[in-house]
């Protein structure tokens, strides 16, 4: 009986329309997999560890590991409350705020960097003031963090917002009626219940911040982060030269993803 059902289902799976969908989707999957495999293939013929030990590479890795977590922390601290407001409140200009949040996602990162420069560039009032105070906002780790935050923060805002929206508002109302104020209700109820989505947003933000190149290049070409170092290596040495650093970048992102999944017990990061 169960065998018959199974066979039936398998036949149903391969009716012509599904076959078409499968072929089209399959092409895309191949498109994802092929470059990845080909790239890893090259890794075999490159001296990975030796390159990673070079001072320039090590500095780039260190800079990335310094800046990306800070950018992620800033994006989370400011982004989660914004996500909550957007999920719960209705106010004049909410549409405009939502559009602004999405802006860094749709604007090319290089243009995003240019936008940032027009505020914090060396010859703008803010940039000049910061530079004379000894904390230059361009060509500094601070500049890197600015660029990373600008580009990556929307991920945590959008994902956390969806998470808060999925929490039934009556759970919050019940908390209020049980004597807890708005802030206690947020930390006791809304935050824990939206945790999965928030963690997913943090991971996406971190991954985006770590890999951020376009805006970073505009705002702070120096000091080098892993992506800018990748670019420098590519210019001088071609694809083979960037394999080690690319692998390191991939490894860091995957490690963070695995760690967060383990710690936060979020089943599928991207799905939530």
């Amino acid at each position: 009986m169960s065998l018959a059902t199974e066979t039936g289902r398998r036949q149903f799976d391969w009716v012509p329309e599904r076959l078409v969908a499968g072929l089209l989707g399959g092409l895309l999957v191949v498109g994802f997999a092929l470059p990845f495999v080909a790239f890893l293939w090259r890794a075999g013929s490159v001296t990975v560890w030796q390159t990673l030990a070079e001072p320039a590479t090590r500095t780039a890795i260190r800079n990335s590991l310094l800046t990306a977590p800070v950018a992620t922390a800033i994006a989370t601290t400011l982004g989660v409350p914004l996500a909550y407001i957007l999920a719960r409140a209705s106010f004049v200009g909410k549409r405009a705020v939502e559009a602004l949040v999405i802006l860094p996602l749709v604007v090319p990162p290089v243009v995003g960097g240019a936008l940032l420069l027009s505020v914090v560039g060396r010859f703008t009032p803010i940039g000049a003031a910061a530079a004379s105070a000894g904390v230059p906002l361009t060509d500094s780790l601070l500049g890197v963090i600015l660029a990373q935050t600008f580009v990556a923060a929307p991920f945590v805002v959008i994902t956390a917002r969806a998470g808060f929206a999925a929490v039934d508002e009556r759970l919050e109302q019940a908390s209020r009626s049980l004597g807890h104020g708005p802030i206690a209700t947020f930390t006791n109820v809304s935050l824990p219940l939206a945790r999965g989505a928030i963690v997913a947003g943090i991971v996406l933000t971190f991954a985006r911040a770590t890999g951020e190149f376009g805006a970073t290049m505009m705002v702070a070409y120096n000091p080098r982060t892993m992506p800018t170092q990748l670019w420098v290596a590519f210019i001088s040495g071609g694809i083979d030269a960037i394999v080690p650093l690319a692998l390191a970048l991939l490894a860091i992102t995957l490690a963070v993803l695995a760690l967060v999944r383990r710690v936060a017990r979020v089943p599928t990061v991207v799905d939530t």
Binding site: R170, L171, Q173, R176, S177, L178
Partner: protein
């Protein structure tokens, strides 16, 4: 609010009864944009009372609950708890326990943690908190599930835990917003009795919000019927069922036969005619000549015309040919008897519903709920236990003026014109 205002409010609150009402809603109105959700609603609930707020969906019940709990700021009016105005107070600063229609147990806390949640906000110390959680879980008979996750509970258990959670902080008023709607029928009846028992045990002032008249009548000391955002009737379940003040209440609280009639004489006693049959209604005169005569199916007797030939002829003209002969006159005056043919007999288990097409009685232009074609004769439904009737039998339908309510027809039409409320 100034102390003078507060003193005045307290004076107003305490004027009618000796004690301060646990909950007082006074002239509450609320608009969403241009839609009136609540229109001048006033309700007073005495301490320890269980009031059912009854009305069809969309009548404003939820808005009222939200206003009492503090999640909606009403457009106008005043809400007071134990004599203190709380109209503008935050939800957490008024002692209102709320149980919503859908479960709001926190999935990331155990059953005991859920019940303790409201106590934490009150600053109840650990030992007392433990004791209180145990006591309220015992009250709802779920002490053995204290360590369980809410996800592991059945629908009825979840409801009871929520009840315990809402009661544990010992609120001034407990608001149950459609607490039974999400449950199946058998569980609903059991939990409804459970709620009544818990309410008696704790003595907590309770507002039980429901669209189900059976639930409301079974548990409540008093009913408040809400219709289109306004209070349609207030009173004990029995009073409202037997002498509803208006057509909406009559139809919402149970099955209703409606016949068109007109007032023939209201100088001495109100005398009403349905077709040619006239009878006395021991009620105050309605405002209009055209009236709606309402009578419950259980107050209607159906007698086979062959078996009841003599009585039938005597009653044919009812009180109209009253000869004023002694003590029996009063009964005769109020007796109504109408001829008809059995259209259908429906077996309802414990009884039969006999639907009788009347020979001559003015049809009522009712709404869609009672599908009655304009030209077809009006029908009356009667309940009987053993009547042995079948479709096509000639019968007489009898009831008494004492069991009848008379509503002004035109005025009621204006009042309920264009309403979209489902009326059972």
């Amino acid at each position: 609010m100034t102390s003078v205002e507060r003193a005045r409010d307290q004076a107003v609150a305490g004027r009618d009864s000796g004690e301060t009402p646990a909950l007082e809603v006074d002239g509450l109105s609320h608009r969403y944009g241009r839609t009136h959700a609540l229109d001048d609603v006033s309700i007073t609930v005495a301490p320890g009372e269980l009031i059912a707020l009854l009305g069809p969906s969309g009548c404003g019940k939820t808005t009222l609950v939200q206003a009492i709990a503090g999640h909606v700021r009403p457009t106008a009016g005043r809400i007071a708890l134990r004599g203190t105005a709380v109209t503008a107070a935050a939800p957490e600063s008024r002692d209102v326990g709320v149980v919503f229609q859908q479960s709001t147990l926190y999935p990331h806390m155990t059953v005991a943690e859920n019940v303790a949640y409201g106590l934490a906000a009150q600053g109840v110390v650990d030992e007392q908190r433990e004791e209180r959680v145990r006591r309220y879980l015992e009250l709802v008979e779920l002490a053995h599930l204290r360590a369980a996750s809410p996800d592991a509970l059945s629908g009825g258990q979840a409801r009871r835990v929520e009840l315990a959670r809402a009661l544990a902080p010992e609120p001034d008023v407990l608001v149950l917003d459609e607490p039974l709607s999400a449950l199946d029928r058998r569980l609903r009846v059991r939990l409804r009795d459970e709620i009544a028992r818990i309410q008696r045990t704790t003595g907590v002032t309770t507002l039980f919000v429901t669209h189900d008249q059976a639930d409301a009548m079974a548990v409540a000391d008093r009913l408040v019927v809400l219709h289109d955002g306004a209070v349609a009737a207030t009173g004990t379940p029995r009073t409202l069922y037997e002498s509803p003040p208006n057509r909406f209440t009559a139809r919402f609280l149970g099955r209703s036969n409606e016949l068109a009639g007109h007032v023939v004489d209201d100088t001495d006693r109100v005398r009403v005619a349905i077709g040619e049959t006239r009878f006395v209604v021991p009620e105050t005169a309605p405002e209009t000549d055209q009236v709606l005569v309402h009578v419950r199916p259980e107050a209607v007797r159906v007698v086979s015309e062959r078996a009841d030939d003599d009585d039938g002829t005597t009653d044919r003209n009812g009180g109209d040919h009253d000869t004023g002969g002694g003590g029996s006159t009063g009964d005769r005056d109020t007796a109504v008897s109408l001829g008809g043919t059995v259209a259908r007999v429906a077996d309802a288990g414990s009884r039969y519903d006999v639907h009788v097409s009347l020979d001559s009685a003015a049809s009522v232009d009712t709404d869609d709920e009672t599908p009655q074609e304009a030209d077809s004769p009006p029908t009356v439904t009667a309940e009987c236990t053993t009547c042995g009737l079948a479709a096509g039998d000639r019968v007489r339908v009898a009831f008494d003026g004492h069991d009848v309510s008379v509503f002004p027809l035109s005025a009621d039409r204006v009042g309920s014109g264009g309403e979209g409320d489902p009326v059972r």
